[in-house]
């Protein structure tokens, strides 16, 4: 009596006879949008992103401008003893401060150092 090969009919992958069931491919749904519209949408999204970035950058710059960076003076700079500002009447305080600031405001520009021997 000839031996019948065992076949698990539930699992197609284990078919010892080598048959493979063809799985019917799911047909892709074709989009109705034309390529021109897709390009336009992509451009629109890109411009929108640029617009949002520009708004963020502008607002950040504005915030930066509000806070003026101030240089921390070295501890040895205040040589002249000064009277406490809080004792000054408020109406004159600003004027005194303005003059005091002006006293130390020379033109901050280094003179150029050049080599006069070039070409000689």
């Amino acid at each position: 009596m000839a031996e019948t090969p065992y076949q698990n009919i539930d699992i197609s992958q284990n078919n010892p006879l080598g048959f493979q069931e063809e799985i019917p491919s799911v047909p892709k749904t074709k989009s109705n949008l034309s390529p021109k519209i897709i390009i336009l949408i992509a451009l629109g999204v890109f411009i929108l992103i640029l617009f949002v970035i520009s708004l963020i950058v502008t607002s950040r710059r504005k915030n930066e401008n509000l806070v003026a960076p101030s240089i921390t003076p070295p501890p040895t700079e205040n040589v002249v003893p000064t009277v406490s500002k809080s004792l000054l009447p408020e109406i004159y305080r600003e004027k005194f401060e303005s003059i005091e600031n002006n006293l130390n405001q020379d033109l901050e520009i280094d003179t150029p150092a050049i080599d006069l021997e070039i070409g000689l």
Partner: protein, 254 residues
């Protein structure tokens, strides 16, 4: 999409406003510092090419050295012009306190700016080392005058600032004197003011005299450190005047 474009440009526009003197000065100063860096780069390149030429003495290395010399001289003139321009703009700040002398300094600076511009039209036409040498000799002698012009302008800027501060202190003292609470407490200060004011002015005159001294010899006699000594003297008198005024004000208000 056009709407987005329109919105984009609408949100990004900012009103055009005139630059203030200090903004302009800051901008010119920035330009000067940039051009100074450019000059330093060109200078290093020139030194490099010069060393190669000294080592090999070939026609190619000589040509390279000539080109790098032209580049460094060109950038040097641009840097110097930028420095003079910055200084000229800087003088505007307290010009009203001494407009005649300040204007004279500004005219001198403008003259040298123009001269440097003219030189930069000549430099690209140099073809050999002797052209460059001839021009470099001329420049060296002219640079004495340029140095004198910019140190005079720097002195003028320092003098103007101190005269302005002296005037501001006087105006503030007059305002305080009119205050009903003062009870003529400022009289002593006003009695003392001409003496200290004269000391400030004398120091500033000494600084101006130093800067006006004619230059003799082929090298520049740098008087600027002496000018700084005089302006610092004036500063100490001004600080003393202000400190006294402050003490009086605190006294009658407390």
């Amino acid at each position: 999409m056009w709407l987005i474009f329109v919105l984009f440009f609408l949100f990004n526009t900012s009103p055009i406003k005139a630059q203030t003197q200090s903004e302009l000065f800051t901008q010119y100063r920035k330009d000067y510092l940039f051009l100074r860096d450019e000059y330093q780069k060109n200078y290093l390149n020139f030194l490099n090419k010069k060393n190669v030429y000294i080592q090999y003495r070939s026609i190619t290395s000589e040509q390279d050295m000539i080109e790098s010399s032209k580049a460094v001289l060109f950038s040097r003139n641009k840097m110097l012009k930028s420095f003079l321009m910055t200084l000229r703009i800087g003088l505007d700040k307290y010009k009203t306190i001494n407009s005649v002398n300040t204007e004279k300094n500004q005219i001198q600076l403008s003259k040298w700016e123009e001269w440097l511009d003219e030189q930069n039209l000549i430099i690209p036409n140099f073809t050999n080392s002797s052209d460059i040498k001839e021009w470099a000799t001329l420049f060296k002698s002219r640079y004495l005058e340029i140095q004198n012009a910019f140190y005079q302008a720097l002195t003028q800027a320092e003098v103007n600032l101190r005269l302005y501060n002296l005037n501001e202190i006087k105006l503030l003292a007059e305002e305080i004197n009119l205050d009903p609470k003062s009870n003529n407490d400022t009289e002593d200060w006003f009695a003392n003011f001409p003496v200290k004011s004269d000391l400030v002015k004398k120091s500033l005159e000494a600084a101006t005299t130093l800067a006006q001294k004619p230059q003799k010899g082929k090298t520049f006699n740098n008087y600027y450190p002496e000018v700084r000594v005089q302006t610092q003297k004036a500063d100490s008198y001004l600080k003393s005047l202000l400190a006294d005024l402050k003490a009086i004000t605190i006294k009658f208000y407390n």
